[in-house]
């Protein structure tokens, strides 16, 4: 019926537009018919050339976000007046589905006019419908609540997490009068600047809220396990206006659980809790300086991670260096993506002695939460060449502070390689059979030798000694025979006895052979001057005897020869004793 009417009216309008300008029209329109859940659409109902109030259409579950806003216009052109009344709603849908906006009705003189129903297709939106926390908070107080949210629900110890505190508000005005910050046990926290945050409108379960970020924190979990962020409370006054003192309200946020994962085992020795991504730099402002001139050594740790919580490794300066406490230069920015920047440690050192000093390289291990592995940084090595300072060692003697060599540390002495003279265990030379044999063999040999030698000496010594001791006696005996022959006057007998006495004495006394009685042999045995003359006389006497014995001539009287022989024998016996 209404179609018919509408078509009829439209045909009539076109046919006689100029005849009847004040035709009544009533239309409903939307700006779009397909939206995603959470999106907004505008519904406009327009009534032209009538002043009657019309009823709002049935919205079939669509939520009114704003409106209705009403506007009207009136035109009077060339004696013809037109008027329109427009009502606008801003609608949204919280659930996907098909919605039908029912007809709006208006009563005019000729009857009731209805608009066409409009079908709206609502697809599944990507806008969040609000977390469980929001739903719960909305249930307790739908007009004002605070939601704490974390950028991640679990992270490694030391890995940054951002906590955001959003106020959801439906009051026209909210003034904050006080707040208690949330309790953060087990976190190291750093406030982030939330003042730049813009307020935004958000629809939760069909209700529109003004959402303001009031506080944002960067949290670094400090110990593994379940950590809890206790609620934050906010005191505020709502709906305050010129006419109204407002209503005070206390709002509590939700509490939130967080899981801090422990760092995996197997941390390197130089790991000291750094988590993130870093680089390490070791530099000196100069690598060549004179003694007693200050050098600046910079250790710079830069990157992204828990920078404020880590100490850069300290270079080990040689004891010839005077090192002062470092100046710390922090250039760290903290924002929602974490901490980044650099920490610089500036050491001022003064080398007190010239030489080449190897400061080595620094190392630092950190944990990279992206790959869940430990990584080691190693700075480039630093070598400082120190030249002799003012008035070097070659110049005139100066007073040098003499100090003892400082023992830095004690450790066991290193092993010795190379002198591996291994000995079989339990084998001792002392008491072993070879040793005993080696000891007794020379002893037996010497004993045997001594026995043989003493026997030989006894045998040899006896004969000679006997001859020696009997030499004088025998000589006396023969001299006596010679004396007898002298008395009897027998020349041959006398000389024979005298010669035998002299020969025999010499051979017996000096163990000589019968032909060995020569002057040389006697002189060799009678080494003194007296002995030498005696030996010469003795040999001369023997020669005189032998001559007188076989020749008729006698040079000396026999008595004289006899006395000479007696004296010489006595003399030689005395010398040779």
């Amino acid at each position: 019926m209404k179609y018919r009417f509408l078509i009829g009216a439209l045909a009539w309008l076109i046919a006689s537009a100029s005849v009847l300008a004040q035709e009544i029209t009533f239309t409903a329109s939307v700006d779009r018919t397909a939206i995603a859940a959470g999106d907004q659409l505008r519904l406009t109902v327009t009534l032209a050339n009538a002043q009657e109030r019309f009823t709002a259409p049935d919205l079939d579950g669509l939520v009114v976000v704003a409106g209705p806003h009403e506007s009207s216009s009136f035109n009077f052109i060339n004696g013809r007046s037109t008027s329109t009344v427009t009502r606008t709603w801003v609608l949204t849908a919280t659930q996907p589905g098909k919605y039908t906006i029912g007809p709006a009705r208006v009563k005019v003189m000729r009857g009731v006019i209805e608009t066409d129903p409009i079908t709206i297709e609502v697809s599944k939106g990507n806008a969040p419908q609000g977390s469980a926390d929001v739903q719960r908070a909305q249930q307790s107080d739908p007009n004002l609540f605070i939601i704490v949210s974390l950028s991640k629900g679990k992270a490694y110890v030391g890995e940054p997490v951002v906590a955001s505190y959003h106020v959801y508000n439906r009051y026209s005005s909210v003034e904050q009068t006080g707040s208690t910050p949330p309790q953060l046990n087990g976190f190291w926290s750093e406030e982030l600047d939330a003042s730049q945050a813009r307020a935004e409108d958000k629809i939760v379960n069909g209700l529109q809220y003004r959402v303001v970020l009031v506080k944002q924190q960067l949290l670094l979990p400090q110990r593994p396990g379940k950590l809890r962020i206790e609620p934050m409370t906010l005191s505020c006054v709502v709906n305050r206006s010129f006419f109204n003192r407002g209503t005070p309200l206390d709002v509590r946020s939700n509490a939130i659980e967080f899981t801090a994962m422990p760092l995996p085992p197997g941390a390197p020795a130089d790991f000291s809790g750094a988590v993130g991504e870093f680089s390490l730099d070791l530099q000196a402002d100069r690598t060549q300086a004179k003694a007693h001139e200050a050098i600046e050594v910079n250790v710079k740790l830069s990157g992204k991670g828990n920078l404020k919580l880590i100490e850069a490794p300290r270079p080990s300066f040689p004891s010839d260096f005077e090192a002062y406490e470092p100046k710390v230069n922090d250039r760290i920015t903290v924002n929602a993506s974490g901490m980044s920047g650099s920490r610089g440690f500036q050491y001022t050192v003064i080398p007190r002695h010239d030489g080449r000093f190897d400061l080595g390289s620094l190392s630092l291990s950190y944990f990279d939460p992206k790959t869940a592995t430990y990584k080691q940084l190693r700075s480039q090595p630093l070598v400082v060449e120190v030249l002799p300072g003012e008035g070097g060692p070659s110049s005139a003697p100066t007073m040098t502070m003499r100090t003892d060599v400082i023992d830095l540390d004690h450790d066991i002495r290193f092993i010795r390689t190379g002198d591996g003279l291994l000995r079989a265990k339990g084998k001792h030379l002392f008491g072993s059979w070879p040793w005993i044999a080696g000891m007794t063999t020379p002893l037996l040999l010497v004993l045997g030798f001594l026995g043989w030698d003493s026997r030989r000496q006894r045998l040899a010594g006896d004969a000679e000694a006997m001859r020696r001791s009997r030499a004088e006696k025998l000589a006396r005996h023969r001299l006596r025979q010679a004396a007898d022959a002298l008395k009897s006057g027998s020349k041959a007998e006398f000389y024979s006895a005298l010669s035998k006495a002299l020969h025999g004495y010499a051979t017996d006394k000096f163990t000589l052979g019968a032909a060995g009685v020569t002057e040389e042999a006697l002189i060799a045995r009678l080494t003194t001057d007296e002995g030498r003359t005696a030996a010469k006389d003795y040999v001369k006497l023997i020669a005189a005897c032998d001559m007188a014995r076989f020749a008729p001539v006698e040079e000396l009287p026999r008595e004289e020869l006899y006395d000479q022989a007696l004296v010489l024998i006595q003399q030689i016996d005395r010398i040779a004793r």
Binding site: R413, I415, R416, F430, W435, P442, D453
Partner: protein, 254 residues
């Protein structure tokens, strides 16, 4: 398998399963063990070196073993091997320094046997750097003495004969000293009358029985003199004269 392991495996491979190892095997094992030690594998070095120690000995070997134990944190065993090395060569400065350093980590403070420099010099002289040193000297002196005696009998020249006799007498005197030192040294190394406490903590008791009255407490690393032993108990004596009985399992003889 890296080069060190190959080296070690090669050295082990040369050693047959039979108990005794030969001198060349021991030499190569020693070199391999020391290489492992230098490379930082102290446990591997220790395994190799202890294989040698069953049959062979030297101050350098004991130094290496002691150092390996020390690096592994086992102080009493380190002291034990340093002391064993010092028994072989009391004048070894490295062994002495390391023994003293290890001793500084022992809880019980016991005075050393030879603290005076003179007494130490005398001990070093008497012991010699080589255990067979005095026995070898005795052999030489015996030979020289005998030669001198023989020559003194054969020499006719009276002053030369006299000199030979004096020299022979002096050599004979030195020979006696050498034999005495050698005998003392032999007794010293054969008797093993000192021990290192291995147990972390042990009571010395008045009688060789569990439950007897405890007299004093010793901790690991302490060096004691063992005077007597009976039924698995040792009677130990401290330098200050205290005497008590301890289980033999609590200590290791040097």
């Amino acid at each position: 398998m890296n080069a060190r392991q190959i080296l070690f495996a090669a050295a082990i491979g040369m050693a047959p399963l039979a108990k005794a190892i030969t001198k060349p095997q021991a030499d190569s094992l020693l070199a391999a063990g020391q290489q492992l030690y230098i490379a930082g594998d102290h446990q591997g070095a220790l395994n190799a070196l202890l294989t040698i120690e069953a049959d062979f000995d030297s101050p350098a070997l004991q130094l290496s073993i002691g150092n390996a134990w020390y690096k592994l944190g086992n102080i009493p065993n380190a002291i034990l091997h340093f002391e064993r090395g010092l028994l072989l060569d009391p004048s070894d400065a490295d062994l002495r320094a390391n023994r003293d350093l290890a001793n500084s980590q022992v809880k019980d403070k016991l005075p050393g046997a030879a603290d005076h420099a003179f007494a130490r010099r005398w001990q070093e002289l008497r012991a010699g750097s080589d255990p067979d040193q005095w026995a070898l000297r005795a052999l030489w002196l015996m030979t020289i003495t005998c030669l001198l005696i023989i020559s003194s009998r054969l020499i006719r020249s009276r002053p030369a004969r006299r000199a030979a006799q004096v020299a022979a007498a002096m050599c004979a005197m030195l020979l006696m000293i050498s034999i005495a030192f050698a005998a003392a040294r032999h007794r010293h190394s054969a008797v093993r009358d000192t021990a290192i406490i291995m147990a972390p903590r042990m009571d010395a008791r008045a009688e060789p029985a569990e439950g007897a009255k405890p007299l004093f407490i010793l901790h690991k690393g302490a060096k004691v003199e063992v005077r007597d032993s009976m039924n698995g108990w040792n009677e130990v004596r401290l330098p200050n004269g205290s005497v008590g009985w301890m289980p033999a399992s609590a200590m290791e003889r040097i």
